[in-house]
């Protein structure tokens, strides 16, 4: 333990650069963990909206076990300052960022800039030695199985990640966070100045600061979750895509060409909750980490019936995609023959419509412009969004609420005077109890501005799905829990959870998180039994955070996303709490988590068994054939 540089920088925050200039590194206030899981700050001149926001309120505490268990050497890239070149990253178009612009650092501080540069040079050479030390080949325990065992530093404390969006604006504010922004801007600009280098990541003790340069915007994430650099870069990439979905790339570029001090906060006004829900999603949704779709598990025949109803008539000629979602997952989607939809666009779209602005809106229908950046980063399409079912799917809902579009339910015919609180369906029905939360939404993406045509057509779709019983069947499936599955259904001893990605379908499937990873249930328990200490409530969140981070570490390793020398076929990590393994083959990627008491051979056996089971269930687990038009 004492051999790791980590022990030399015991404080987790406040010292991003070991040996760096302490006077400029007073980052403490903005970097200190807050009560929220994620923190987003959009910063630009004159924007007072340092909107730090909470999308989640469990910040798990440290459990002592892990700390003493950390004896394994850290992975090769876990320490020191790393500034790596842009590697081949499948999802990241690094090249487009080059030469568009450079960050303006606060004017008139050439000296401090030079100081910083010198310090950074020192720390860079410092890194050489530690890198040598840390890059010892990982030991292979079991040669027969030919597993690559990745030493893993177990983190058991998941303080909220912090996200920053910076612009080229000079910082004129003098508060603490402004100095942090200025520092980040300076760091970015120093490297660009030097040799058009792009700063990617700084490691400071357990804290990693990741940068993504997408001029005129610059993204920074600060995390101490111990995930590989590629993970948080991916987060930042998604954050960028979501911002583009709000303003489009061309508009953004024009704005900042016209005025370098354009106010990004104002430009994104009203979209804060979309960005926040995205950050929340990024923490937990493995479909985003694996750049794939996680569709709703459903009977093949029912899925096909629903899809048939969605095929647009020739009249709706501007229609681009029609998507049916349930509980945040795609049920089916219909597309033109020549367009496949990029998973990232789908995530951006689903995240947008599930933002509280739309999901909890009393409106019957929302009609909003959205840019799907992988489809066309420079233009908007229009999205028709109609939540046919919303909130608790209690017994009496479906007939009334779905056969007629949701509006009728919320507008009693010709009321006599302002009606006494006739609540819109599902809203404010806090009272806990039976009935799973259900929401089913119809989304129609149109290239044209004609709402009436889209609405008329969507109404007919809803009618069709209602009259042939497909919608009710879907509601029933969701309500009875048939659309999710437990890992116990597989009957594989010791198996706790897995994620299977079908590479040809670009889709994943995974069982629900259960003990010890079941965050939701644990939260409920804590709410109901408030006399218990709050601490136990947080162990599931910590466990889930740990598992997801492990999966991400495996994913990163088998794809060599963070500048590793090469990708791997198999990767195994054992912690005190569980064993995980990542396995990539031609048709699939598989990540399994088992009890740590089981031997490696059992892990491999379980992986094979999962692959067989998924193969058998493929039709229900994946969206395999949706109609085109």
């Amino acid at each position: 333990m004492s051999t790791t540089p980590r022990s030399r920088t015991p404080s987790r925050v406040g010292t991003p650069v070991p040996g760096g200039s302490p006077s400029r590194l007073v980052l403490a206030p903005p970097l200190r963990p807050t009560h929220s899981l994620t923190n987003l700050r959009v910063y630009s001149k004159s924007s007072s909206s340092g909107a730090s926001s909470s999308s989640h309120s469990t910040s798990p505490s440290t459990t002592p076990i892990a700390i003493s268990a950390v004896n394994t050497p850290p992975p090769g890239n876990a320490e020191g300052i790393l500034v790596t070149e842009a590697e081949a990253e499948p999802d990241v178009e690094e090249s487009e960022a080059i030469g568009i612009g450079r960050v303006a650092s606060p004017a008139g501080d050439e000296d401090s800039k030079k100081n910083l540069r010198d310090h950074l040079r020192q720390t860079l050479s410092y890194r050489q030695s530690t890198a040598d030390m840390a890059s010892r080949p990982p030991k292979k325990k079991s040669k027969t199985l030919n597993l690559n065992e990745l030493p893993h530093e177990l983190v058991d404390s998941f303080t909220p990640r912090q996200y920053f969006v910076l612009t080229e604006a000079d910082s004129t504010d003098s508060d603490d966070s402004a100095s942090a922004y200025a520092l980040m801007q300076a760091l970015i600009s120093i490297f660009l100045d030097d040799n058009n280098d792009k700063l990617r990541c700084i490691n400071a003790g357990a804290t990693r600061i990741t940068f993504l340069l997408r001029p005129p915007l610059y993204y920074v994430c600060i995390s101490d979750w111990g995930e590989p650099e590629g993970v948080t870069r991916n987060h930042l990439e998604y954050l960028h895509l979501q911002i583009l979905s709000v303003v489009t790339a061309s508009h953004l570029r024009k704005m900042f060409e016209r005025r370098r001090n354009s106010d990004l906060g104002r430009l994104l006004g009203g979209a804060e909750n979309i960005l926040n829900s995205l950050l929340h999603r990024l923490e937990w949704d493995l479909a985003l980490s694996t750049s794939s779709l996680h569709c709703l598990k459903l009977d093949t025949g029912l899925r096909a019936r629903l899809a048939d109803a969605l095929v647009p008539s020739s009249k709706a000629k501007d229609v681009l995609y029609v998507i049916l979602v349930a509980n945040g997952q795609v049920v089916t989607l219909v597309r033109p023959k020549k367009h496949s939809i990029h998973p990232a666009d789908l995530h951006i779209l689903v995240n947008t419509i599930y933002a509280p602005s739309i999901l909890t809106s009393p409106a019957a229908v929302s009609w909003l412009p959205i840019c799907l950046p992988k489809f066309n980063p420079n233009g908007f399409v229009n999205a028709y969004v109609n939540f046919l079912v919303r909130g608790r799917g209690d017994e009496d809902e479906p007939g009334q609420n779905t056969a007629s579009s949701a509006e009728e339910a919320s507008s009693p015919t010709a009321r006599e005077g302002p009606a006494p609180a006739q609540s819109a369906p599902g809203k404010e029905e806090e009272s806990g109890g039976r009935g799973k939360d259900i929401d089913i939404g119809l989304v129609c993406i149109s290239g044209g501005p004609d709402f009436e045509t889209v609405r008329t057509w969507c109404d007919s779709v809803i009618k069709k799905m209602g009259s042939d019983g497909a919608l009710d069947a879907l509601i029933t499936a969701v309500r009875t829990g048939a659309t999710v599955y437990s890992v116990s259904e597989l009957g594989i001893p010791g198996l706790r959870h897995f994620v299977y990605k079908s590479r040809s379908h670009v889709q994943i499937t995974a069982p629900v998180f259960e003990d010890p990873y079941d965050v939701k249930r644990e939260q409920q328990r804590c709410v109901h039994a408030s006399h218990y200490s709050l601490l136990p409530c947080l162990t599931a969140a910590a466990a889930a955070g740990r598992l997801i981070t492990l999966y991400q570490t495996l994913h990163d390793a088998i794809h060599a996303r963070s500048g590793q020398a090469g990708s791997l076929k198999l990767q195994y990590i054992k912690t005190q709490k569980e064993s995980v393994m990542g396995w990539i083959t031609q048709p699939f990627e598989l990540y399994v988590a088992l009890s740590s008491r089981l031997p490696k051979s059992a892990v491999v056996g379980a992986a094979n068994a999962v692959a067989r089971w998924v193969k058998k269930e493929e039709g229900r687990l994946f969206l395999t054939n949706a109609p085109v038009f």
């Binding site: 009203g270 933002a355 602005s357 019957a364 909003l368 302002p418 009436e452």
Partner: protein, 256 residues
């Protein structure tokens, strides 16, 4: 649902109405109050536009409002024509505690009068009036001074006024007189409203309903089912407003 084109079936007249105004003045809250008689504090900002419907009975007629509740952020401004095109009515909302929001409202009015349906009925609504009134819970009477022009009927006892009324009224940035004078000059219906308490909200829609040339819509929708489209080509009714109607507000609210 299948309301489109089937207006004749339930004898209701479809009226397309759009809400415009600066961000965070309370457009969605006004609609929510009107449609569901609810109020949500800290409402999330609207994205794009939300579409709602509400029926409103006026004497022997049933109006079916098709309401476009638009997002107020500047970046959505360029989309507004899509929503006010063919609208028969518009509610332009400002916040009585924010002077700049009235300026924004005026520019919306100007744009509507220039580019929207020439027959469009426009209402100006100064929302959040509850913020400039003493809270009714402070005392039983709740009759403290509201604004200058209503001071005469507010025969409050001096003692409670000092505590309850002074603070709220100081939040007001748009005097009622000023906004009302502007509305009169521009030919708009005028209301001060509180989506929170419900004050004045239903009246907006009632008064609009009275002013809408219903016969005209009925006549033109018979053919097309798209009343707005036809309404546009119809005889240009003068944009002027009969202020008597405004004065009569509240007397016979449409029982919506």
């Amino acid at each position: 649902m299948a309301e489109s084109g089937s207006g004749a079936a339930d004898k209701s007249v479809q009226v397309k109405l759009v809400l415009l105004g600066e961000a965070a003045v309370g457009k969605s809250s006004i609609v929510l109050r009107f449609v569901s008689n609810e109020f949500q504090a800290n409402k999330e900002p609207t994205i794009g536009a939300a579409f709602l419907t509400q029926k409103c009975r006026l004497e022997d007629r049933v109006l079916r409002y098709e309401i476009w509740d638009t997002a107020g952020q500047e970046r959505f401004h360029s989309l507004a024509p899509m929503y006010y095109r063919n609208a028969q009515a518009a509610v332009v909302v400002y916040d009585v505690t924010k002077a700049s929001s009235l300026e924004k409202a005026k520019s919306w009015v100007k744009e509507l009068q220039r580019q929207a349906n020439p027959n469009i009925v426009i209402a100006l609504a100064g929302n959040k009036v509850d913020l400039v009134q003493p809270s009714p819970s402070a005392s039983g009477s709740g009759s403290a001074v509201e604004s200058e022009d209503e001071a005469d009927d507010a025969t409050a006892t001096p003692g409670e006024n000092a505590a309850a009324a002074e603070q709220p009224e100081s939040l007001r940035q748009v005097p009622r007189d000023e906004a009302e004078a502007y509305a009169k000059e521009a030919g708009l219906l005028f209301f001060e409203t509180s989506a929170k308490t419900g004050e004045g909200v239903v009246e907006i829609f009632t008064e609009i309903a009275k002013k809408i040339p219903i016969e005209h819509i009925l006549a033109s929708s018979r053919g097309t089912g798209r009343p707005g489209a036809a309404g546009r080509s119809g005889g240009a009714q003068e944009g002027g407003v009969n202020l008597e109607e405004n004065a009569a507000k509240g007397k016979d609210a449409c029982n919506c």
